[in-house]
Symmetry: C2
């Protein structure tokens, strides 16, 4: 049932072809199985109920703690939620994403300045740098680097994951539910578990590399030609995977063009402030 090592023996050309679809494939150089594994990542939204081997959580968090952290400040925390009622409420906050209830391990990653604030209090030192946007960003970045290491570790064990940005739909409710102190806020969630058989999907193609990689100075390589190729690619990907047709451009316009698609996150600034980050 469980595996303790992934066997992603995809060749470089195969892995790149899946990741870039019909778009131009970059002239990648050095390669190994670990890189093949990174390229084979897919977000999975359906899980078997099978429990994880003992100690999996601790392994993933050890990997997470091994990521870089700005000045070793370690301004993040993670909450492992197993309680079924809490899962249901978290799924509700996330607009009904049932994989939050299904997966055997659900993690909520926090930007956490509370720990270091308490350290300041006990030392009688005013923590002058904490109220700034910079320090909030630093905590968000710390949490993201840590979580991505946990994802890489999980996938190396044959597990699947999906990030849940929708924790930001209602961070105050997440905070009440998880007993979060001021100076902490849930940045995103992460489902971890064994992919359901129905979830054996394809790697999702990304934008051509020339669109995101610039040399020396910012270029404008996202020309309409490249985008048209990717639009077709993503539309075909959706059709192949049983989803309604939608080009990438249509997705971007739907997701960023309408305030309604923010699902409450348009008040995030006020909410983050209420969680104890002045964002000066």
């Amino acid at each position: 049932m469980t595996t303790t090592s992934a066997t992603p023996q995809m060749s470089r050309s195969e892995a790149l072809a899946l990741r870039y679809g019909d778009g131009p494939v970059p002239l990648a150089g050095p390669w190994n199985d670990q890189i093949a594994a990174l390229l084979s990542h897919r977000s999975v939204r359906g899980y078997r109920p099978d429990p994880l081997p003992d100690g999996t959580l601790e392994t993933l968090v050890a990997a997470a703690q091994s990521a870089a952290t700005s000045s070793n400040l370690q301004v993040w925390s993670v909450i492992a939620v197993t309680d079924a009622d809490a899962r249901r409420e978290l799924a509700e906050i996330a607009g009904g994403q049932q994989h939050i209830v299904q997966c055997p391990l659900y993690l909520v990653w926090l930007a956490d300045l509370a720990r270091n604030s308490r350290l300041g209090q006990s030392a009688g030192v005013e923590m002058q740098a904490i109220p700034y946007l910079e320090t909030f960003m630093l905590a968000v970045i710390d949490a993201a680097l840590a979580a991505q290491n946990a994802v890489v570790a999980a996938e190396s064990l044959g597990l699947s994951t999906v990030y849940i940005g929708a924790m930001r739909n209602d961070p105050l409710r997440v905070a009440r539910l998880l007993g979060l102190p001021a100076g902490t806020v849930g940045v995103f969630g992460l489902c971890v578990g064994y992919a359901a058989d129905s979830e054996a999907g394809e790697v999702k193609p990304r934008l051509p590399q020339a669109t995101v990689l610039h040399r020396e100075r910012y270029g404008r390589e996202d020309d309409p030609g490249l985008r048209a190729v990717y639009d077709r690619e993503m539309n075909d990907f959706r059709l192949r995977n049983g989803l309604p047709p939608q080009t990438w451009s249509e997705l971007v316009l739907a997701r960023l063009g309408r305030l309604a698609s923010m699902n409450g996150r348009e008040v995030l600034k006020d909410v983050v402030r209420e969680r104890g980050f002045p964002l000066r």
Copy 2:
């Protein structure tokens, strides 16, 4: 000179002992070489001038693009900087960090809402969701997840890295230098290269796992006892590695207790706004 695969054959107990030092070692479960490699991460601040094999940049960016990205919006970009004058200026912005000049590959990671804004413009759609703090955060998180995948890929190739948060000391100067359009901002930099022989240092111990990992609800496991152990550990680590003594608590108080230690980042909110993110 170059290697194409890491050989981190550290045992679980060895890797955990290095990562947690004298603190309590978590009861980690499943294990493999990939996880051992994640645990053996060290940030490296001195590089040999040796060039990278052809195609290394493209391999790393393919790994970066394979990380999860919220709703597949892909709101990040990366600039590869090789020009020596530009490197010197970036090092100056970062307070004189010479590894930015030394390393064969320097990457500046951007939160990039400009690309999707242009898409809106060409479609004649007002991108209502773009001006919000939420969408800026989403771009910062996307960039961090992507960069961490690049770090994992680089280390799997025997390369070393260090994140450079100090790009945020002066994002306007970074933007002028790299020709960044409105709606983009450098979130952090990343040095990639072969560690100088002098850099064969130790893995840096982290806080006890019970301090950052909470179960069901946020706990207060960062009790003074655990912190005292870690304080001693970090002080000893510094002495063993030829650095002036400093406990972790002293580091946190020095870094977050004084506005002066922000090196200009206390104005980041205004600067990010000037870069075209209203942060509504």
